[in-house]
């Protein structure tokens, strides 16, 4: 076992002996998100580096502290990429943080989320054991899928040490089309197009303009452009638009004031709440700035088949939608099973856990 790993293990064991708490942290790009930041810092960054990458296997395995920029440039050399487009939030996040937060970018509705691409993970458990789940192969049903359970776990089950993710070839061609239309019409159009065999790789609506990105072989992208109409965006402007959404550089998303991330059924009607919105994922993700009360936002999200999370606004209201009692009981027992003393990231995802 190497020094970086051994040091992490020692810290975890020592913390357990003292009854202390640890706050697992990579690059800290998502410190703003989540319920609480309790405990002494457990810095994952020293545990960095790509362990294995063979482009023809479509899998990259890297240690948790590996930076997104390093991974992306390595993959780009071989014409591949992380198709779930993890957001960087203006920094350079680590692979461990990307998986622990479980957040995906504009391509989510077309290709899937972080969890859909994770094939395996290693976890440093509260008792200092290093546990490996899943693997480096596409199909694997040996044991429960704990590697994917770690996606979006915000570190409450343990410290992620290493992750294997599926990568995809970068599409040969990409074009973004813009359409002037209202939000309701845009959501309808996005869903209609998504039900047809068109190479749609992202959709968004903001301030009266719907944007649709098409990705694939050039002839297919050209044919889809002809089918859909709309005005093609200049490639530079298009790239800037989607990066702005992905990394929250767009001013609507980056302003550090309360912002609701409303995750709903894509075809759900618009909620009748005051405020302004930005729509992604064919309508399944709606960012909302509103003066409405937290409970009203949550109720509207529930009615639309989803939930609302509070971005940049901890303290105003609970960050995440509270869990149903039966699910909370399962969460409690999972936490007790993996981290009986409550060492790791206590309260970050679920209050008290």
């Amino acid at each position: 076992m190497d020094a970086a790993l051994e040091e992490l293990r020692e810290r975890v064991l020592a913390t357990g002996r003292h009854g202390g708490r640890l706050r697992i942290r990579g690059a800290g790009t998502k410190d703003f998100l989540g319920e609480a930041l309790e405990g002494e810092l457990l810095d994952i960054r020293p545990l960095a580096g790509v362990v294995d990458y063979e482009p023809s296997e479509l899998v990259v395995t890297a240690r948790a502290g590996t930076r997104l920029s390093a991974l992306e440039s390595l993959l780009a050399e071989h014409g591949q990429f992380l198709a779930f487009e993890p957001p960087a939030f203006g920094g350079d996040p680590t692979l461990g943080g990307i998986v622990a937060a479980g957040l995906s970018g504009p391509r989510r509705a077309s290709v899937g989320s972080v969890r859909d691409f994770v094939l395996g993970a290693q976890l440093l458990a509260a008792d200092g054991e290093r546990l490996a789940f899943g693997g480096r192969v596409m199909k694997n049903v040996a044991g429960f899928d704990v590697a994917r359970l770690l996606c979006g776990s915000f570190g409450i089950l343990g410290a992620i040490l290493e992750v294997s993710v599926k990568v995809l070839p970068r599409p040969a061609a990409e074009t973004t089309l813009a359409f002037e239309m209202g939000a309701a019409e845009a959501i309808q159009s996005f869903n209609r197009w998504s039900r047809r065999p068109l190479p749609v790789s992202a959709t968004s609506w903001f301030d009266g303009i719907a944007r649709v990105r098409l990705s694939g072989v050039p002839s297919a992208v050209d044919a889809a452009c002809a089918t859909l109409g709309g005005a093609p965006l200049d490639p530079g402007a298009a790239a800037q638009w989607w990066t702005g959404l992905r990394d929250h550089k767009h001013p609507f998303l980056s302003a550090r004031e309360p912002l609701w991330r409303v995750s709903v059924a894509a075809t759900a009607p618009l909620v009748g709440l005051p405020g302004t919105k930005l729509v992604e994922w064919a309508g399944a993700l709606r960012w909302l700035r509103t003066s409405a009360a937290a409970e009203d936002v949550r109720e509207a999200a529930r009615r639309a088949g989803g939930s609302a999370a509070l971005w940049h606004g901890a303290g105003v209201a609970p960050v995440f939608e509270p869990l149903a009692p039966a699910l909370l009981a399962i969460h409690r027992r999972l936490k007790a099973g993996f981290d009986p003393q409550g060492i790791f990231n206590r309260g970050r995802l679920v209050p008290g856990l």
């Binding site: 297919a220 075809t267 999972l334």
Partner: protein, 514 residues
């Protein structure tokens, strides 16, 4: 994964009623049996509880017929309310519950527990909602996989995962096993195509995992549930994602005079940035076995053939097919053919789809394995399998989901010849353990069930298995759902005697002795 009604595995290995697994329980006494049946009968309609030997005999095994057990009773609820009632009784009396769909599973996951009930979900077979605008279908667990695609077809949509047994297997069983199929490299497994599951815990309490939205608060319990082989909860409703049916699909068939070259072609296709809709390989033993039955036109001189399917818009397919032909030729293909019509495309596939029944026609019995390896080791594994054929004195035909490194070696044997089943079992265990040694896994899509429970000791450390038990307890504290499957106990692994040695420690150093 084999066609329904094709009996290809006979009951080998021990007489009827001889329990092969101590984990799967001791037979309950007659008094206990009467108590359980009476309690179930009191809360369920007449006909929902089967207890006569002749009625429950059909449930003694699933698609892995070598492993058999008779349950106390078979319960056939017709609604979620009846499932809840049955679970409440089992929870109160401490009766193990083994959920079952169509019984097509290949790892004994639905093999009954001697002191438990089989909970058949076959009567929960309604499609509750199909929303073509949202692209979703909400169905009961007993709905057949193919029935979803059939219902969605008028809207130009379909359900992507297509295990070979799709005309018979149920969506509930697909969820339990995280079923794949020939198209999952491009379209994903069950995991990637299920949005939401409603289910009941062992206490009969409803839970909802996932949602119609693409994110759900809390831990991703849906991911943990899919592939959990009936150990965590009972699904009563599954909402799946429907995809637009591709406008066109064509398949490139390539012959190779060397299996390793075919393996190289697979790597070259992926390295060129192509994700084919399907990428399958068959060795000569497999093509020779199927050709007389399906007349697919396979090149029987070839050491291996590769089938690469392209789907999408006509423009995408034309471009991709041209590149596929170029790549396989550059990789040394001795012949190539491209399907010119839908009928021809289906004919090219027919041999691959019928490989299992064909094995049943050329051999009295066969044993289907399901390991996954990194693709680059395909040639190496085939060499090892050839060596194992020599050693065990049995033949093996090989079909692969080559695109995702998922192997299905079919070991041919005759259960009536003493010792052959035991040799087949050893042959199979050696293959899956080789997969682990090469960085792969003991099961790609068939599940662990009872079949591979010993191999779990090889793939996972005691601490990892303890984590699996922690997941099990979190969902099912009394441990009544499908006990004895999927996760081996320490005791069982000690008996298997091949636990991995870590950090130079002695084998079993950290193991409590029983």
């Amino acid at each position: 994964m084999r066609s329904p009604g094709t009996v290809t595995l006979s009951a080998a290995g021990g007489g009827a009623g001889e329990p092969r697994f101590s984990d799967c329980g001791e037979r309950a006494g007659a008094g206990r049996r009467r108590e359980v049946i009476a309690a179930l009968g009191a809360v369920l309609p007449a006909g929902a509880v089967l207890a006569a030997d002749s009625d429950i005999r059909a449930y003694e095994c699933d698609g892995l017929a070598n492993f058999r057990e008779l349950p106390l009773a078979v319960v056939m609820p017709a609604s979620e309310r009846e499932v809840a009632a049955a679970l409440a009784v089992c929870s109160r009396l401490g009766v193990p519950v083994v959920a079952r769909g169509a019984g097509t599973g290949l790892s004994g996951g639905a093999m009954p527990h001697a002191s438990g009930i089989v909970l058949s979900l076959a009567r929960l077979n309604r499609i509750l909602e199909l929303d073509p605008v949202a692209g979703i279908a909400r169905v009961e667990p007993g709905v057949r996989n193919l029935a979803i695609s059939e219902a969605a077809a008028p809207h130009g949509l379909y359900y992507a995962p297509d295990p070979s047994s799709q005309i018979a297997c149920t969506i509930g069983g697909n969820v339990a096993e995280n079923a794949g199929g020939v198209h999952c490299l491009k379209y994903g497994l069950t995991l990637h195509n299920v949005l939401r599951i409603r289910g009941l815990t062992i206490d009969g309490e409803p839970i909802e995992l996932g949602s119609l939205a693409l994110d759900t608060p809390g831990l991703d319990l849906l991911a943990a549930f899919i592939g959990s082989e009936g150990l965590l909860a009972i699904a009563t409703e599954v909402t799946v994602r429907l995809l637009p049916r591709p406008a066109v699909a064509r398949v490139v068939m390539a012959s190779f005079d060397d299996v390793a070259k075919a393996g190289d072609a697979v790597a070259a296709i992926i390295a060129a940035g192509i994700i084919p809709a399907g990428l399958e390989m068959m060795d000569r033993r497999a093509t020779v076995a199927v050709e007389p039955f399906v007349k697919a036109g396979y090149d029987l001189e070839a050491a291996a053939i590769l089938l690469a399917e392209s789907d999408g818009t006509p423009e995408e397919v034309d471009a991709e097919v041209a590149r596929l032909e170029q790549i396989v030729t550059a990789s040394g293909a001795t012949a190539t053919a491209v399907s010119r019509s839908e009928a021809e495309r289906l004919r090219f596939w027919s041999g691959r789809k019928n490989a299992f029944p064909a094995a049943g026609r050329i051999s009295p019995d066969y044993y289907c394995m399901d390991g996954t390896i990194p693709r680059k080791h395909i040639g190496r594994v085939l060499e090892e399998i050839a060596a194992l054929e020599e050693r065990q004195g049995l033949r093996c035909m090989n079909v692969f989901h080559a695109g995702d490194g998922n192997l299905h070696p079919l070991i041919l044997f005759d259960a009536n010849v003493p010792g052959q089943w035991e040799r087949a079992e050893r042959f199979g265990a050696a293959i899956v353990e080789l997969c682990v040694a090469l960085g792969g896994t003991i099961t790609g899509e068939h599940g662990v069930g009872v079949e591979k429970i010993n191999s779990m000791c090889v793939q996972f450390t005691p601490a990892e298995r303890a984590a699996f038990f922690a997941v099990k307890r979190a969902f099912d504290p009394p441990g009544l759902l499908n006990p004895g499957k999927l996760i081996p106990t320490l005791h069982r692994c000690a008996e298997y005697g091949r636990m991995r040695v870590h950090g130079g420690a002695l084998p079993f150093a950290d193991l409590p002795r029983f």
